[in-house]
Each structure stands twice: as C-alpha cells, then as structure tokens.
C-alpha cells in the first residue's frame, strides 16, 4: 500500500448563520488519499463540496481539524505550492492569452522567463491546446477554457490537483470528451486528484474511489472502491459493475435528498 499523500483529520468548517447561531457547512471529515490516487467526492449541491476544497487549499481556515500533506501539516496560504486548484468557472483572466494565463502561477518564482514559458507550453500541449497559446479566453469554447484552467493548475507541478466540478457547465457531449481527456492526462501525469462532482457516472468513470457526501451539514456518508480496470473508455459505462455501483450510489444520494426534505429543497 502506497503511503498517503493527503490526510484530512476531523476537518470541519462552520460559519455564523443568519440568526447568529453557528451554521455547520461540513464536519468530521476523515479521509486518507494515496499518492497518485483519483478520488471523487459526490453529493447533492449545497452540501459543502466547494467549501471543503477551499479549506484543503488553505483559502479559508478549517474550524477544527488538520490537513496533512506528505506528513506535513498545512496552515493558510503560506508554504510551498503543493496543490493546483481547477475552478468551477474557468477563472481565466480575460486580459491574458492562454499562454499568459498558464504562466500566472509560474511568474516570480525564480524561474527564468523562457524556462517558465516552455513549461507553460508543455502543459498547454498536454491538455490539447497546442496552437492556441496566443488566444484570449473569449476566443475559446467552454471546453477549451477548462483545458486552460487545467493546464494552469498542472503547470505549477503540484502534488495534488483539486478539481471543483470542472465540467459541470459544459454540454453533455463536450463533457464526455473532457472526461476522456482527463483520464488520459491523469494517466500521463500520475497526479493525485480530488475531484468534486454531483454527477455519479462521471465520478465512477474517472475514479479509483468515490466518496459520498451527506446533505447539510456535509459529511462522509460512505466510500466505494471502483472495481473497474484501467485504462477505461466510455464502454465501461455498460459494464455490469459500473451499472451496479451507479445504482447503489444513486439510492444513497436519493436517501440523502429525502432526509433533507425532498428535491425541492436542493
């Protein structure tokens, strides 16, 4: 068993609610992720998935608990650049070309400019955007923008990639292509990935392990190992084991939603 690269211990986050009483967004998260593992977090919207990624990345502090990367406890935004964040909206700077958007995280890090540019080019190539280096975000399709978003996170060469529903805003066809692309890129880079999604099939297709979140306050309801061999393509979706796992997960999430007061409360 490979050693764990990321450990979340008793992580929780609460904020002051409307009437001043504490509002728990998620609580009691204990998760251990192996180096190179692809873990998906699925749960109904509003269950605190984005907030948890932000806490893991140090953008906001946890209320309790620890985040340990490679044996070292993390706090705030100090320290090394260990994680790349892939944002739900692509968060590309409209005044920068693809290349310069990818360069953003590489500037001012003691790399010489041509070295940094080579690195940025390399990751744009990897995500399939060779030839689009000088395009501005508004000249790119939604799928291409997410590719730049991914290249930017990869270019800082982080140990861990945090991805927040990166394909949620894409049309179904583009989304399927992007899922296959991510499988390819992941197998080429061997990154550890924490992938947040509300789409069950997406989680199963991509992951080694799927973690199901409960509805408010979010906490880990159950974990599943995905029993499908790699490399995978769209055909695994008709595999018996895929369909079984999908049904199991769907029932679980349905229960969560019912417990929360039905679909209308989502």
């Amino acid at each position: 068993m490979a050693p764990s690269i990321l450990e979340l211990k008793n992580l929780s986050r609460e904020v002051k609610g409307r009437n001043g009483e504490p509002f728990v967004i998620f609580r009691d998260i204990n998760l251990s992720v192996r180096d190179g593992e692809f873990v998906s977090i699925v749960g109904p919207s509003g269950c605190g998935k984005t907030t948890m990624l932000r806490v893991i990345n140090g953008l906001i502090p946890p209320s309790t608990g620890q985040i340990v990367v490679d044996g070292r406890e993390q706090s705030g935004t100090g320290g090394d650049l260990l994680m790349g964040f892939v944002f739900q909206g692509a968060a590309l700077l409209p005044w920068r070309t693809s290349l310069n958007n990818v360069l953003l995280g590489l500037e001012g890090r003691g790399k010489n400019p041509s070295e940094a540019r080579d690195l940025a080019r390399k990751y744009l190539d990897l995500v399939g955007l060779a030839g689009f280096e000088q395009h501005y975000p508004h000249e790119l399709s939604g799928g291409m923008q997410q590719r730049v978003n991914l290249a930017r996170a990869l270019a800082i060469e982080p140990k861990i990639l945090l991805m927040d529903e990166p394909f949620a805003a894409l049309d179904a066809q583009t989304r399927s292509f992007m899922q296959l692309e991510l499988l390819r890129i992941w197998s080429q880079t061997k990154k550890t990935v924490i992938f947040v999604t509300h789409m069950i099939a997406e989680a199963i297709l991509l992951s080694d392990r799927v973690v199901v979140f409960s509805h408010r306050p979010g906490t880990i309801r159950e974990e599943f190992r995905v029993p499908l061999p790699r490399p995978r393509d769209m055909e695994v979706k008709s595999d018996r084991r895929f369909v079984d796992l999908e049904n199991t997960l769907w029932k679980l999430i349905e229960e969560e939603v019912k417990a929360a007061g039905g679909f209308a409360r989502l």
Binding site: G58, L59, L81, F85, A91, W95, L104, E107, G108, H138
Partner: protein
C-alpha cells in the same frame, strides 16, 4: 452585411452625420433665424476662427490658458482620485472617512463653489485648477473605488491559490481588472473638467476660452462666441479620442470585438 457595416462605412457615417449637422446649422442660421445678432452660419465661425488663428493669432493665448488649467486640474484628479479610490476599496476606515465628503461634494453644484474658491485662492491659476479638480476628481475616485470592489471574487481566490504575493495580486489581477472602470471614470471626468474650465474662467479671468465666450456674450460678438464654444467642443472630442487610443492600447483583449 455586419462586416460591411463595421468597415469604412462606419467612418463615412460619422462624417455624414457631422456634415448633416453643419448643413442644418447653416440653414437655421441663414434662412430661419437670419439674424447674425443671434446665430451665425458655421461658415462665419470658420472664417472667424481662421482669422483668430492665422491672421491676428489672438486665439492662442486663450487656447493655451484653458488647456493648461484643464490639464493641471485633470492630472491632479487622477493623481489624487485613483489612489484614494483604491484605498477606499481596501480599507473600510478610509471608506468611512471619505464617503460623506465624497457624496456631499459630488452632488453640490460646482458653480456654487467657484466664488468661494476665488475668495480663498484668489483669481490666479490656483482657484481655476481647484474648480476643474473638484469637477474631475469624483468620477475618477468613484470609478476607481468601484472597479476595485467588483473584481471577480474567483480571481482573488485564484491568486491566493497560486500563492501570489499581495503586490502581484494588485499588479496582475486587481489593477487590470479595474482598468476599464478607471478609464470610464476618466471619460466622465473629461466633460466635467471642461465645464469646470468654463466656470472658472467666467469668474475673474483675463484669458481662456471661458473668458472669451463670456466676454463675447457680453459684447454680443456672436462669431467669437461660437468660435469659443466650438473650441471647447473640439477639446472634448480630442480628449475622447486620446482616451479611446489609451483604452485600445491598455485593453488589447477587447480590440478584436467590434465596437
């Protein structure tokens, strides 16, 4: 069709529009009003302007005086307004201190300040620059403040996620993101600044376009009056065009959009 419209025909339309306006003006002046004590034809204005520029040269001192007052007041408002707007966006304390003054001074008619400023600063350059400054500074201040405030929160998260320094966050994200707002503040300030020049020079000036217009009005010299008004208009147009060029240079990602 759209492409055709975006090309030369847009420039042609602008020229046509100006020509139509001039023809209408000429018609109004010579046929409808037909009284040179009220309105003169653009042709008379052009010939008067020609005379004042190339024969007597008497327009130059006025042009220089007004441009000088305008530029000082305008640049001073940029130097004060932009950083103060940023400080307001970053610090709630600064915001609380500046806000009541900003709203009061911004909404008080500036013409009411003119006599007061003249009283305090005398009829020299100081009071004129101050009047222009008061006109320009608030749109610049407010837009700089607002531009900083509305920067997409996700961009700030991005900067933090990439562990950018505060300086890099400012230089690479906050500043470029608020630039379009600042530029539109500069555009608003342009018109208000020129109004300020006119007001300032109405009160106890001895040169300047405002003085020229005022004096020509008092002496019923209609051609000179219109030369002064036209010169103000041209200064506005030139200012707008300069700002447009700056905007094109500063926001290259927008130039591929049709305007």
């Amino acid at each position: 069709m759209v492409k055709f419209y975006c090309g030369n025909s847009r420039a042609i339309n602008k020229v046509l529009s100006i020509l139509c306006g001039l023809v209408l003006w000429h018609y109004l002046a010579t046929v409808i009003v037909a009284d040179t004590a009220f309105l003169v034809s653009p042709l008379a204005v052009v010939s008067k302007a020609y005379e004042m520029l190339f024969l007597t040269g008497e327009l130059y001192p006025h042009l220089f005086a007004s441009s000088w007052v305008f530029l000082y007041g305008y640049l001073l408002s940029i130097v004060v307004g932009v950083p103060l707007g940023f400080l307001m966006a970053f610090s709630p304390a600064v915001r609380d201190y500046v806000h009541p003054w900003m709203t009061t001074l911004y909404t008080t008619p500036r013409i009411a300040f003119a006599p007061v400023l003249l009283l305090w600063l005398g009829i020299g350059a100081g009071s004129k620059v101050a009047i222009v400054f008061l006109g320009c500074v608030f749109p610049i201040l407010i837009n700089s403040y607002y531009g900083m405030r509305v920067v997409d929160r996700e961009f700030v998260e991005l900067a933090r996620s990439l562990r950018l320094t505060r300086l890099a966050l400012f230089r690479k994200i906050l500043l470029p993101a608020s630039l379009p707002f600042i530029l539109s503040g500069l555009r608003l300030a342009l018109g208000r600044g020129l109004t300020g020049v006119a007001i300032a020079e109405w009160f106890g000036a001895t040169a300047g376009l405002g003085y020229l217009v005022y004096f020509a009005g008092q002496t019923l010299n209609v051609p000179v009056l219109f030369v002064g008004v036209t010169a103000f208009g041209l200064m506005g147009i030139i200012g707008f065009e300069i700002l447009r060029k700056i905007e094109d240079l500063a926001t290259p990602w927008k130039t591929s959009h049709p305007r």
